[in-house]
C-alpha cells in the first residue's frame, strides 16, 4: 500500500455504530479522515446502479457512499467484521464487505484499507486495531496508544448519547422508541425521515442504539439465548430495558433484512404490553408513504391515553 494521508470513511452501515472509534484511531495516528456526506437521493441512485437488485437498501446506500469517496482520499476504509463471539456475530454482508466493494468497483481500482476479525479467530478489539495499525505501517506501540485514546473518545461519545437520551426519557410528552440497526435509525434517507415525521407529530424520539451497549447485550439473553447477531441483540436488549419508559415502539427495518425479519416478528409476538409498529423501508420509496402508518400509530397511542374517541 502506498503512502496514505487521507482515509475515506463511507457514511453507512457500521460507521453509524463505530465511526467515532474509526475516525479517532486514524486521527490519533496522524491521518486525516474524509467522511462521505449524509445520504441523499443522489447517493441512493448511485448505489442502486452499482448493487445487485436483491441486496438490502442500506448496502445500496453504502455503495453510493463509497462511490462519492472515489478520488477524494488515498484509501477507503472498508472493514470485514464477523463479530467476536459465536452468539454475537454480524450479518454475512459484513463478512463479505471488502470483497464486495473491491469487486463492484473493480474498474475504478480504489485503494481499499481493510481489517478483518471473526469469532473463530479468538481475537479481541485491541488486537484488531494493532493489525489495522500494522496495515498502515505503524508500530505496535503507536497503534496501541492510538487505540487506547480512540476507545476513550468512543466511550465518551457513547456516554454523552446515553446521558442526553436519559434526560429525554425523564421528560414529559409522548415518547417513541425507534428500534433497529443504527444505520437504519440514523440515516437521513431511512430512519431519519421516520424520526422527522414522529417529531412533526409531537413525539419525542429515543433510540435503541443510545442505550448502554453492555447492559443491552446482557439483557438480550433474557429475550433469546440462541440469537446469533450482535446488532439484533443490542436492539432487543434495549427494547427490554426501555419498554416501560416509553409510550410506543417503532421497529424499523430495511428491506430485505434476514435477521430483522426473524427478530422483529419475534418482538411483535413477545412484547405485548406496549403499542408497537413494524415498518419496512424499501429501495423503491425509502421512507415515503410512511406518513399514514406513522400517523395511525400516533393516533392509537393518543386516543388510548385519552380513553376513547368520545364519538357516542
Amino acid at each position: 500500500m502506498g503512502q496514505i494521508h487521507t482515509i475515506g470513511i463511507p457514511r453507512g452501515l457500521m460507521a453509524y455504530r463505530s465511526g467515532v472509534l474509526w475516525k479517532a484511531f486514524f486521527e490519533e495516528l496522524g491521518l486525516s479522515c474524509v467522511i462521505s456526506p449524509k445520504s441523499d437521493r443522489q447517493i441512493l441512485e448511485k448505489g442502486t446502479k452499482r448493487a445487485a437488485d436483491e441486496t438490502c437498501l442500506p448496502f445500496k446506500l453504502y455503495l453510493g457512499h463509497v462511490e462519492s469517496l472515489l478520488g477524494e482520499c488515498d484509501a477507503i476504509f472498508v472493514p470485514r467484521m464477523g463479530g467476536y463471539r459465536p452468539k454475537e456475530k454480524m450479518c454475512t454482508r459484513y463478512e463479505a464487505l471488502p470483497d464486495l466493494v473491491k469487486n463492484i468497483f473493480r474498474n475504478q481500482h480504489p485503494n481499499i484499507l481493510t481489517v478483518s476479525y471473526d469469532w473463530y479467530d479468538h481475537t479481541d478489539e485491541a488486537k484488531v486495531y494493532l493489525s489495522l495499525g500494522a496495515a498502515l505501517g505503524r508500530s505496535k506501540s503507536e497503534s496501541k496508544k492510538a487505540y487506547g485514546a480512540a476507545r476513550k473518545k468512543m466511550d465518551q461519545w457513547m456516554k454523552a448519547k446515553e446521558k442526553k437520551q436519559n434526560i429525554l426519557l425523564e421528560g414529559d410528552g409522548l415518547k417513541i422508541l425507534a428500534a433497529g440497526h443504527p444505520y437504519v435509525l440514523h440515516d437521513p434517507f431511512m430512519g431519519g425521515e421516520i424520526s422527522r415525521l414522529l417529531g412533526k407529530m409531537g413525539a419525542t424520539v429515543v433510540f435503541t442504539d443510545y442505550v448502554n451497549r453492555e447492559k443491552a447485550l446482557k439483557r438480550s439473553y433474557h429475550f433469546s439465548k440462541v440469537m446469533p447477531w450482535i446488532i439484533n441483540r443490542e436492539m432487543t436488549g434495549a427494547v427490554m430495558l426501555l419498554r416501560e419508559r416509553v409510550d410506543g415502539i417503532v421497529l424499523l427495518s430495511a428491506y430485505p433484512c434476514g435477521p430483522d425479519s426473524l427478530v422483529n416478528d419475534m418482538l411483535v409476538r413477545k412484547v405485548k404490553e406496549i403499542p408497537m409498529l413494524s415498518l419496512t423501508l424499501d429501495a423503491q420509496s425509502g421512507a415515503a408513504g410512511m406518513e399514514t402508518r406513522v400517523e395511525s400509530f400516533m393516533d392509537i397511542i393518543r386516543y388510548q391515553k385519552a380513553g376513547g374517541y368520545g364519538n357516542h
Partner: protein, 316 residues
C-alpha cells in the same frame, strides 16, 4: 337558526365517499362513486350530489374533514378542519355505530387493513404491504376474465356446492391457475367460490397475520358487499361477521365525526364544487434530495403545498 351539520369525504384509490351528519350521528346525505383516477373531480361530483340531497334550509355545514389516500389534496380544496388517516377515521366511524366491536376487517379497492379495538379504541392495526392480491381490484380483474359482473360474484359463489382451490397468493399466478381450472372443467360457480375463499384466506394469512381476531367482527370496504367473501370469512373464523349497510361509508362517517369533535367551526360553502383546482409538481433543486413538492392551486392562487423534507423547500 339552522342546525349544525358536518361533512366527511373519504377519497380512496378506487372510490370516493361522502357523508353529511348531524349532531347525533344521523346521516343527512351520502354519496359513493368511482374516483376514476381523478380525486379532484370525484370530490367535486360528491359535493354536487351531497348538495342536492342536503336540506340547506334547516342545516348548515360548520366543519369538514377528509380521509383516504387523497386526503391532503381534497382537504386543501375544501379548507377542511381535519385531515386524518383512514385507520383512525374507520375506527372512529365503526365504534360509533358498533360500540362493542373488537375487530374491523376492511378490504378496499387496492388496499386492505385490520384494526383491533379494545374498549372502543383502536389498539393495533395492520395494512397490506407491497401487493394488492386479494383486494377489490383483484376480484374485478378476475370477474372480467370470467365474463361475470363483479357485483354478482357473491350470489354466484353462494350457489356453488364447493369451492375450487385457487392459488390466489399472487394475482399473476391466480390468472394462470384460473385458466387451468376452467380448462380441466371446474364449473364457473365453484371457481368463483374458490376466488372468494382465496381472498378471505389470503387476508387472514397476510394482513391479519399474528393478530388476534375477536368477536364482534365488522367487515367493511367494497369487498364486504360480496356475500361469498363474507361467508368464507365466517367459515374460516368460525364466528359471525357483521356487514353494515353503511359499511362502505365508515371512513367518511368517521372523519365527519372527527370534524365535529375538532370544535373548529366555520360555515362551509359548497362553492368548491364549482371551482377550478389544479395541482403542479415542482422538483426542489436546493439540495441533492430533489424533493417532489406538490402545489395545489385554486384558479391561479396557490392554496397549499407539501412534499418537502425541509424548510428550504417550503413554498409557502
Amino acid at each position: 337558526m339552522k342546525k349544525k351539520a358536518y361533512l366527511g369525504i373519504d377519497i380512496g384509490s378506487i372510490s370516493t365517499k361522502g357523508v353529511i351528519i348531524d349532531e347525533n350521528n344521523q346521516f343527512l346525505a351520502e354519496c359513493y362513486l368511482w374516483t376514476e383516477g381523478n380525486p379532484t373531480e370525484a370530490s367535486k361530483k360528491v359535493l354536487h350530489e351531497l348538495r342536492i340531497q342536503f336540506d340547506q334550509e334547516h342545516y348548515q355545514v360548520v366543519a369538514s374533514g377528509t380521509t383516504g389516500s387523497a386526503r391532503k389534496l381534497v382537504g386543501a380544496m375544501l379548507g377542511a378542519q381535519v385531515v386524518k388517516n383512514e385507520i383512525t377515521a374507520h375506527a372512529v366511524g365503526t365504534t360509533a355505530l358498533h360500540p362493542d366491536v373488537r375487530t374491523i376487517l376492511e378490504i378496499g379497492g387496492q388496499d386492505s387493513k385490520i384494526i383491533c379495538v379494545e374498549n372502543g379504541v383502536a389498539v393495533d392495526y395492520a395494512m397490506n404491504t407491497l401487493c394488492a392480491a386479494g383486494t377489490g381490484a383483484f376480484l374485478s380483474s378476475q370477474a372480467h376474465r370470467l365474463g361475470v359482473a363483479v357485483e354478482q360474484f357473491g350470489e354466484i359463489a353462494l350457489s356453488a356446492k364447493k369451492a375450487a382451490p385457487v392459488a390466489a397468493r399472487c394475482t399473476v399466478f391466480a390468472e394462470s391457475d384460473l385458466v387451468h381450472k376452467l380448462q380441466v372443467g371446474y364449473p364457473k360457480e365453484e371457481i368463483i367460490a374458490g376466488l372468494c375463499k382465496a381472498v378471505a384466506g389470503n387476508y387472514l394469512n397476510n394482513v391479519a397475520k399474528g393478530k388476534k381476531i375477536l368477536s364482534p367482527v365488522v367487515f367493511q370496504g367494497g369487498v364486504s358487499k360480496n356475500a361469498g367473501v363474507v361467508k368464507m370469512f365466517e367459515e374460516e373464523l368460525r364466528m359471525p361477521v357483521i356487514v353494515d349497510e353503511k359499511g362502505h361509508l365508515m371512513g367518511a362517517f368517521g372523519i365527519a365525526i372527527l370534524a365535529r369533535e375538532s370544535r373548529q367551526e366555520e360555515a362551509f360553502s359548497f362553492d368548491a364544487a364549482d371551482m377550478e383546482f389544479k395541482t403542479r409538481e415542482v422538483t426542489c433543486g436546493k439540495c441533492a434530495n430533489h424533493c417532489e413538492i406538490i402545489c395545489v392551486y385554486r384558479g391561479k392562487e396557490l392554496i397549499d403545498s407539501w412534499g418537502n423534507r425541509c424548510d428550504r423547500g417550503a413554498i409557502r
